[in-house]
């Protein structure tokens, strides 16, 4: 029993998107009898619809697999899934910190790609043992040997005896399981030491409260213990421990080296922060685990119920989502144009999109979102400093001494043939270039100091499309820097509609103003009168369009057979009008709000 840790392997699977990570995970679950085949949905671990649709993992899934090896010994594998988007880099790093090793899946029709590298670096940062697996060997264009050589050259790890598999066809999956035993080290925690456990994820369960995913580093924990969250300092009594396989299975205790879950009647996920260390209240460990960060929202936007939705309904939904997503923050906000709503903070644009989509799908809510914004630091002429994440709160120009915007340090790893276009892209996004670095003869790391506002605005998508998916991005907050940003107001019929206001860099203001005016002209239907659509900085109008007044809105023919048909036509038009927002005398359809957000800088060029 003493050497139980010898039979545990804790690992993640890392891969470039589409290289077969989720498919391999499915096969491992299937091979170890964890999920009966008939219950397998494609890609079991990605269990949110949005995840399966977008082919990305947002919420982590963890599973314990029981495997009887060829040597006859029984092993416990803990497979810890990782999310796959730059918005969630921190979560990835905490998941990896819960492991001793990582399976690196490489598609041998594609070879090593940028995201592969980015993930490898993350894993190496956590001192993980990397175990390469060559996937898709069943395809005609498979180049397994070249891929192995490439792994050795580019990443610098031994790859000649890497398992060669087809996750899709289920070929050689057993080799992977055997290699996990051989290559990935067993955990070496001290079961006798005070409890030291890492929170790497959590979710909210209606009956159990917060369910914490944890890796026990040292010590042990069992129901009845009083645990303490070292960062928040809060104590809780453990009600249940266990592991997922993949459904939750209660256990008597969790001990050093094991991965499992802890329930302790915790009311909200914000009290169980990813990266925090759990210890026992009456026998605490001396030092918490390294690497804890409190996640700060990077992007904010306003969310408002549309005509038919209630404020309370949106609030309820946000609260429910927040229970499960500690990185989502929101507070009440009022807009002259949109009424009562919320200002919400997100890790990034993808995170924001996901939340909006979940509100739509899971809660069936119809909401309007305003332009996303970062937090600006405003130094006023009287010396006070305020932080602004809602453009409407920007003080008048004469009260502003200067404005600073958040800058990030961005690292972009990409094949060298894409360096030109990406440098151009970064320059357009106001990036300040720092020395670039050749990782291999074909791979380059670009380093930029860039405004966060530019990074959140579809930069990742632009990067992906310009590098055909080969580019990867990582960024972290660096500092605030003085910046010539201005507040751009949009006026409909000469009245400012605060919901459309945005803060933009001076150099982009004209272009952006033109874009918004054009979009509004396209989406606002004709009225009985002309509507000027203007964009202004302060008092100065910098762009203008006109929504023309309609001159004709009449049914020419209406005889016996037309009456019901034409009435229906007008009823339909009327339904459309009901969904519009009224700003003064101007009716603005919902699409207008989405349309102005869809600003693709690189397409307008």
């Amino acid at each position: 029993m003493d050497n139980y840790q010898k039979y545990i392997r804790n690992f993640s699977i890392i891969a470039h998107i589409d290289h077969g990570k989720s498919t391999l995970a499915d096969r491992l679950l299937e091979m170890t009898g964890c999920v009966p085949e008939r219950e397998m949905k494609d890609q079991y671990l990605d269990n949110m619809d949005i995840e399966r649709e977008r082919g990305i993992t947002i919420k982590l899934q963890t599973s314990r697999l029981n495997y009887t090896a060829k040597n006859g010994e029984k092993y416990i594998f803990n497979l810890i899934d990782t999310p796959g988007h730059v918005d969630f880099t921190y979560e990835v790093s905490r998941s990896l910190a819960a492991c001793e090793g990582a399976i690196l899946v490489v598609d041998c029709t594609q070879g090593v790609e940028a995201q592969t590298l980015a993930n490898v670096y993350l894993a190496l940062n956590e001192n993980l043992e990397i175990m390469p697996v060559i996937n898709k060997i069943d395809l005609a264009s498979a180049r397994p040997q070249e891929t192995k050589d490439e792994i050795e050259e580019v990443i610098g790890i031994e790859a000649q005896d890497a398992p060669m598999i087809s996750a899709k066809e289920g070929i050689n999956i057993e080799d992977v399981l055997e290699a996990v035993i051989d290559k990935i080290p067993a955990p070496q925690g001290d079961p006798a030491a005070p409890l030291k456990a890492l929170i790497f994820d959590c979710y909210y369960d209606n009956y159990k409260g917060v369910v914490i995913y944890t890796r026990i580093m040292d010590g042990s924990v069992k129901p009845g213990d009083t645990i303490r969250m070292m960062a928040s300092g809060k104590n809780y009594e453990v009600t249940e421990v266990g592991y997922h396989s993949p459904g939750p299975i209660p256990a008597k205790e969790l001990k050093a080296g094991e991965v499992g879950y802890i329930c302790a009647s915790i009311k909200q996920v914000a009290d169980a922060r990813v990266g925090d260390t759990i210890t026992l209240a009456d026998n605490p460990t001396a030092e918490p685990l390294p690497g804890y960060k409190k996640l700060q929202p990077m992007v904010y936007c306003g969310m408002y119920p549309t005509g038919n939705e209630s404020y309370e309904g949106v609030k309820d939904a946000l609260e429910k989502l927040q229970v499960n997503d500690a990185s989502l923050v929101f507070e009440p906000e009022t807009s002259n144009a949109l009424g009562y709503g919320f200002r919400c903070g997100f890790l990034g644009l993808l995170h924001m999109e996901i939340i909006v989509e979940r509100l739509l799908r899971e809660f069936d809510l119809d909401i309007i979102t305003t332009s996303p914004s970062v937090i600006y630091k405003v130094v006023k002429t009287d010396g006070t400093v305020i932080f602004i994440q809602n453009p409407s709160n920007m003080p008048p120009v004469n009260e502003i001494e200067h404005v600073e915007e958040p800058m990030v340090k961005a690292e972009i790893i990409l094949p060298k043939e894409y360096v030109g276009p990406i440098m151009e892209l970064c320059q357009r996004r106001r990036g300040q270039m720092e020395p670039l670095e050749y990782l291999t003869k074909d791979r380059v790391a670009l380093h930029y100091v860039m405004p966060l506002a530019e990074v959140i605005y579809d930069f990742f998508d632009a990067l992906k499309s310009k590098t055909r998916g080969y580019g990867s991005l990582d960024y972290e907050f660096l500092r605030y820097e003085p910046s010539k940003v201005v507040k751009l107001d949009i006026m409909l019929n000469r009245e400012v509609v605060d919901a459309f206001s945005m803060i933009v860099h001076e150099s982009k203001a004209y272009e952006r103003a033109r874009f918004v005016c054009e979009k509004l002209k396209e989406t606002i239907p004709m009225h009985q009168f002309e509507i000027p659509v203007q964009a202004a900085i302060g008092q100065k109008i910098i762009a203008r369009e006109t929504v023309k007044a309609y001159r004709k809105d009449v049914i020419a023919k209406c005889y016996g057979g037309d009456i019901s048909r034409k009435k229906k036509l007008l009823e339909k038009q009327k339904e459309g009008k009901k969904r519009m927002r009224q700003f003064g005398v101007v009716e603005v359809p919902q699409e207008a709000f989405t349309a102005v957000l869809k600003y693709d800088e690189d397409k307008t060029k």
Partner: protein, 438 residues
């Protein structure tokens, strides 16, 4: 005696015009047209059990009210494509089965190319006394855009013949706002039309209907639509020229020499009763027989818990359904399935039935009535529904008074005591007003 208009639909054409989305088929056989004639005769016989002469009435279909047909309108499609003897048979059937007024207005629509002199003479013999002539334009280029099969000269020649030998009352249909058409071209067409001295002129702004060839060409950029400004200039020009020539502008798109307004069409705009027979034809009646179709309409009725026709439990109470129909009327329309209609299996299973409620009546009253230039009389509405105006609401629940006041103040309506009508601006933007009533 209650007055009844009968509409007979002839779903045939030589060719579909490029703007047409009506129910009509080119290239049918004589045999199938003959079957169609028989199916319409059958349908008329069925309706005669309800509304016909005493001797044709039959329990349980008959209604207490007595009816007299005072207008027959043969429309399409293109009735002039239909064999004139077949048409004769249909008109004779109506005259035989139903009480008919002495001053029976019988209109038939015709196209210049298919209306031969032979057909004119037959039509004249069996009593067509109003010809509706689809001229559309006196510009050959415009006619080509519209996909018409006749030339301007042909239309003019046919008109003269029809006028000289056969018809005292002729309507000319014209269209404007056609892609490529200029204001001058339209003026020329109006001048030529007026020179022919028709008794009635319909002038329609082209409506681009989804799925028609002309709409497709506009979307593809092959045709440039006229601007709303030009369209309205054309409309105003037509109104002005026709008025100057002595015509009375009496509906949004219609003008007539005094006394020559279409009696049949006015029914559509005055909540009067009409019975549509033939494929896809629509009806509005204020008395209906007990028949599965009433049940169908009542079941579909979604007027809420106060519904008088469905007793709130899905069952139909014939007497309440009848009572509601007597007050607010019922709208129904025939199947649009040609083969099914021809089979004559059940000539009167309508495709859709809607038993009006109070809000529907209010809605229809304004939706149709405001098309008349003279407008509507509010006391007509009050006496029809038996309630004072102050209690009447639109289907949205907005008081009618409020809606009227709003559009008086935005200049789209004018109210003169009991009369409400569209203003000149309102004629261009009628839908803005009508949307509030649907």
């Amino acid at each position: 005696m209650r007055k009844l208009g009968i509409y007979i639909h002839i779903p045939y054409c030589e060719r579909k015009c490029s703007y047409c989305d009506f129910l009509s088929f080119p290239g049918t056989t004589r045999e199938s047209r003959e079957q169609y004639r028989d199916a319409v005769v059958n349908e008329l016989k069925w309706w005669a059990k309800c509304y016909g002469k005493e001797k044709y009435r039959e329990e349980p279909y008959t209604v207490p009210e007595e009816y007299e047909v005072d207008t027959i309108f043969v429309g399409g499609g293109t009735p002039s494509v239909f064999e004139s003897w077949f048409l004769w048979r249909l008109v004779l059937t109506v005259k035989d089965l139903f009480n008919c007024a002495d001053a029976l207005e019988i209109t038939a629509e015709a196209n210049p190319n298919s209306l031969t002199v032979d057909k004119m003479s037959v039509w004249g013999v069996f009593g067509v006394n109003r010809l509706s002539f689809g001229v559309q334009s006196f510009d050959d280029g415009v006619l080509e855009t519209l996909g018409r099969l006749h030339s301007a000269a042909e239309a003019e020649e046919k008109f003269r013949t029809a006028r000289k030998y056969f018809f005292k009352n002729i309507n000319v249909d014209l269209m404007f706002g056609i892609p490529g058409q200029t204001l001058d071209q339209w003026k020329d067409t109006l001048e030529k039309a007026i020179a022919l001295d028709p008794d009635h002129v319909s002038f329609y702004s082209l409506q681009l209907e989804e799925g028609t060839p002309i709409c497709g060409k506009v979307k593809a950029g092959a045709l440039v639509p006229v601007s709303d400004e030009t369209d309205r200039a054309m409309y105003r020009l037509a109104v002005k020229m026709l008025k100057e020539a002595g015509y009375h502008h009496y509906e949004i798109s219609n003008a007539a020499k005094p006394g020559f307004e279409s009696k049949h069409n006015l029914k559509y705009w005055s909540m009067d009763e009409y019975l549509g027979v033939g494929l896809g034809a629509a009806s509005y009646m204020k008395a209906a027989p007990y028949h599965p179709f009433v049940a169908k309409g009542a079941e579909r009725c979604d007027c809420g818990p106060d519904c008088v026709s469905c007793a709130g439990d899905g069952t139909v109470r014939d007497e309440v359904a009848r009572a509601r129909i007597a007050r607010y009327g019922v709208r129904f329309s025939n199947t649009t399935d040609y083969e099914f209609y021809l089979s004559g299996e059940d000539p009167v299973v309508p495709d859709s039935v809607h038993v009006n409620n109070l809000a529907d009546y209010v809605s229809d009253f304004f939706f149709t009535g405001l098309r008349k230039i003279a407008g509507v009389r509010l006391d007509d509405l009050e006496s029809a529904v038996g309630k004072p105006l102050a209690e009447l609401k639109t289907p949205d629940g907005e008081p009618v008074e409020t809606v009227l006041a709003r559009h008086v103040s935005d200049g789209l309506l004018e109210r003169d005591g009991d009369v409400v009508r569209l203003t000149e601006k309102g004629l261009d933007l009628a839908n803005t007003v009508l949307r509030d009533f649907v």
